[in-house]
Amino acid sequence: MRITCPFCGERELGEFTYLGDAKPQRPAADASEEAVYDYVYLRDNIAGVMSEHWYHGGGCRAWLKVTRNTLTHEISAVEPAAGAGAAKVGA
């Protein structure tokens, strides 16, 4: 598998580390225990196109959001995490 890092270009799998589904969002500080449980433990485990967190630790150390088909391993999009680099985020 090869992932096109938006910063570095196409690189081989060995430079990246996988975390998992990028859909679950960390609940706010006042969220219920149930919401945090859902975030930490439950997964859609999609058979098909999924958005995932990958880390380019063997390269530029950017966290990436990779859109990948879990049935074919085909990668259709890669974008940097919101806070990769120094871009201003939010207010």
Binding site: L19, V40, R43, H73
Partner: protein, 417 residues
């Protein structure tokens, strides 16, 4: 049809023309007391135990392809009960005891071979962790031995003791561990269950659940029509999330690919099962002569049943680091299975939140060794609506309660278990 050397000899006289199918290839009936989804080892074992131990014989096993086409037919055939945490220790030993009498139970030779499972250690910290685990095993009445380097040099002189990046220092040995012929386990359970009246239905894919007004599952929809059922059990590791989703459930499970490899057949070289403690590599040698080996999962969600080169290289690096005499042995075949990786590395055997639906899932890469135990406790749960005592901790709600069974201590990150 009873199998023995005598029946074989008799059959030989007639040119083996009189053998009957090993199991009946049944067509679906309208209704069963219990429908098991998944014709792998776990599903077929569950059916056999329902019929033989719990007196429930109106049972169907539904398989979307051919029986044993999932992980039962693509694993590395290891059996062991060397677990360290409450919940796992007793359960896997229950399973091991069932392995030890399986062939006589089933009248089928699954080639259960207790040639030993050896986990190697390479540091004091690893030795201490193995000591803790081995003592747990002993306290639970399971055989375990802690071997030092001198003992290993005698036993396995070909290991890399002297020229290694991480020299082998010793190992935790379970002599009762070993291997079994994976396909034969499937066929053996199918054979025995079929003899007791269980319907084994191949090429029958479940496409949905039938629910009553209260939401209770009362049957399944399949590629071969609707089938109603008193209870439905799912034993579809690798596809658990997909099947559970048909009932509106989300599970603490991710699907990951695990590769396995076999070498060309060679004369006996490696006696038992061994695992490298300083890398991702484990190996045994099949009766046919192939080195059967594997390592870590590829590490990303996948339903593709095939892996990539980095893990393949990683596994072979581990193999060469541990056993440098296998350099010229050739890798013959590579394949991948889809693992139900749970959030703590341990399985789930429980009633689901949906009435009438029972879950057997989350086996990670350890499902094969659990086959008989899993079948037994799952049959118990379905028949009695109560967890067997050795499966009492495999509850689905344990993550909500914080009662994880995390042998590796990696937390809620399935690809690290």
């Amino acid at each position: 049809m009873k199998y023995s050397i005598f029946s074989l000899a008799r059959a030989a006289l007639s040119g083996h023309k009189n053998w009957k199918p090993t199991w009946r290839d049944a067509a679906p009936k309208d209704r069963y007391d219990v429908v098991i989804i998944g014709g792998g080892g776990h599903g077929l074992a569950t059916a056999w135990f329902l019929a033989s131990e719990f007196g429930i014989r109106n049972v169907a096993v539904l398989e979307k392809g051919w029986i044993g086409s999932g992980n039962a037919g693509r694993n590395t055939t290891i059996i062991r009960s060397n677990y360290g945490l409450p919940g796992n220790t007793g359960f896997y030993e229950l399973s091991m005891k069932l392995w030890e009498k399986m062939e006589q139970d089933l009248n089928y030779n699954a080639m259960v071979s207790q040639r030993g499972v050896l986990n190697l250690y390479h540091s004091d910290a690893q030795r201490d962790a193995f000591a803790r685990r081995g003592n747990t095993m002993r306290i639970n009445g399971i055989d375990a031995e802690l071997l030092d380097q001198a003992a290993l040099r005698k036993m396995l002189p070909f290991l890399n003791f002297d020229n290694a990046r991480f020299p082998v220092q010793g190992g935790l040995l379970q002599r009762r561990g070993g291997t079994a012929r994976h396909d034969a386990v499937v066929w053996g359970y199918a054979h025995a269950a079929s003899e007791l009246g269980v319907d084994i239905i191949q090429n029958c894919e479940v496409t949905g659940f039938t629910r009553d007004a209260n939401g209770k599952v009362i049957g399944v929809e399949t590629s071969r029509g609707k089938i109603s059922a008193g209870k439905v059990g799912m034993a579809v590791a690798g596809s658990s999330s997909r099947v559970a989703a048909m009932a509106g459930l989300r599970l603490p499970i991710e699907s990951h690919v695990l590769q396995a490899f076999v070498s060309e057949a060679i004369k006996p070289l490696i006696p038992g099962v061994m695992t490298f403690g300083a890398g991702h590599f484990y190996v045994s040698q099949s009766d046919k002569g192939g080195l059967v080996f594997g390592g870590d999962i590829d590490g990303y969600n996948s339903y593709a049943q095939r892996g990539n080169l980095p893990v393949m290289e990683d596994v072979c690096e581990g193999g060469m680091a541990l056993i440098p005499m296998i350099g010229r042995v050739r890798l013959l075949r590579q394949w991948g299975g889809i693992m139900d990786m749970s959030m703590d590395g341990s399985p789930i055997i429980d009633k689901s939140p949906v009435d009438g639906l029972y879950i057997n899932a989350g086996w990670c890469y350890g499902g094969f060794k659990a086959t008989p135990g899993s079948g037994f406790v799952f049959a118990h749960l379905i028949a009695r609506d109560q967890s067997h005592k050795e499966a009492a901790l495999f509850r689905l709600d344990r993550f909500q309660r914080g009662a994880m069974i995390d042998e590796k201590g990696q937390g809620a990150q399935p690809n690290l278990h």
